[in-house]
Symmetry: C2
Subunit: 253 residues, 2 copies
């Protein structure tokens, strides 16, 4: 369903902020921009990136693909506090355990709750190697953990951004699925039965089906074609095949 | 919940295959391996990659991070038909419309159905630039479309792999969320009321609260602390603050 028709459209796309702290790899910044844009988000803030020119580095532009507008409007600030200006609820992403801090939640169940609140939300991501500092985690309201394989729970930074952007967009009502194939006109039950009758005559003609001892051949084909849910065009093709069979003459053995 | 306790554990991790057709960038192959492993999948098949040594290229190893075992056990084959050997249901991922083909479905709703079937599933991804060929799409049973922003619907290849691997793992029952912070012992309602009474005395002591005209100060603080859901340790801290206040002497104005 389109976003504007959902009950959660008060959470406009732009009210969600993505914050990257101390990011090392320009490619990850670019991939983050793309991951955000593809899910309809645009507010990117970098806190003390390793390279101050990261937003214009070639790796960032390459990975951003068509999302360089996100890079162009991104801001660089000196602290998480600045990055969270205007945000009412900050979600940390943290891989290593802390002695205390905000509660750990799985994105899907938590976002279902969060999408019903009026919060201005930020998702905060630490640097590739060390994640978030304790002090930065303590500033946040929730600690998100993407459920992952035990013993190997480390998503790439940009892929974590992609999963959370996707989940959050889904929670906000999602985008339409764009059909990649035309809707087929499904054949009616009568059309399927007509085709089966046509095929039955063809199979008798072939000598494959003995009308005196038909066994379960036609019911089995009926089940197959019920599962296949043929289109009108496919029924036409199948009847064409049956016709071709009926026009043959069996070779004497 | 752990995978082995779910109703869908008959769909073992290894029964899901990821197939990359004609991939150009070694980094995407490595990132795919990592995206699979982090969601507990391991069966990777490449169809005619651009570089036959892609599995050992440095970019692949770098992006695979700790998932080089997935690269080591990956197979390279010459056609999608070979890649789908042993698979009973293949999901295409396609970005461009086709004149006909398998029905387009959103991953979440489709996977909820698919996880209840006994299918051996493959997810098939085309090359970075052109996606899947028509002929390859026609071999598949479903066309998956990750719902994305209108006008900018192009996920990076490895990020599409990550989203689908995540969604499919969620549909199969998911992994545990690993708590990143210790569970706090929440204070009882009585402990909160005790703290509020303690604070009320401190506020009277400060002259901030006039017992003769208390207005709604204490009910407002009560609401604030109800929302905050304080822990036992936090109640202890707050009472310590109240004690410190009660030990002061107001300066005469």
């Amino acid at each position: 369903m389109p976003l504007e028709n959902t009950s959660s459209d008060r959470v406009a796309a732009d009210s969600t902020r993505f914050v990257l702290i101390g990011t090392s790899h320009a490619g990850n910044v670019g991939a983050t921009a793309r991951a955000m844009k593809v899910m309809g988000f645009s507010d990117l803030v970098l806190v003390n990136p390793r390279f101050s020119d990261v937003l214009s580095q070639q790796d960032a532009l390459d990975m951003a693909c068509g999302a360089t507008d996100i890079l162009n409007s991104a801001r660089i600030v000196g602290s998480l506090a600045e990055a969270l200006d205007g945000v009412s609820l900050a979600c940390a992403t943290a891989m290593t355990p802390r002695d205390f801090g905000p509660p750990t939640r799985a994105p899907r169940e938590y976002f279902a709750e969060l999408a019903r609140t009026p919060h201005r939300v930020a998702f905060v991501f630490g640097c590739e190697r060390y994640g978030m500092s304790n002090d930065d985690v303590y500033r946040c309201h929730t600690c998100l953990s993407i459920p992952a394989a035990p013993g190997y729970g480390s998503l790439n930074l940009a892929q974590a951004v992609q999963v959370l952007a996707y989940e959050w967009r889904q929670a906000l009502g999602g985008f339409d699925v764009v059909p990649r194939t035309l809707d087929a006109r499904l054949a009616s039950g009568g059309a399927v039965q007509g085709m089966l009758g046509h095929f039955e005559r063809a199979l008798v003609h072939l000598g494959f089906l003995n009308p005196a001892a038909p066994k379960k051949l036609m019911p089995r084909l009926n089940q197959l074609f019920n599962r296949a849910q043929p289109t009108e065009e496919e029924i036409h093709i199948l009847r064409g095949i049956a016709n071709s069979i009926l026009e043959t003459r069996r070779e004497p053995r």
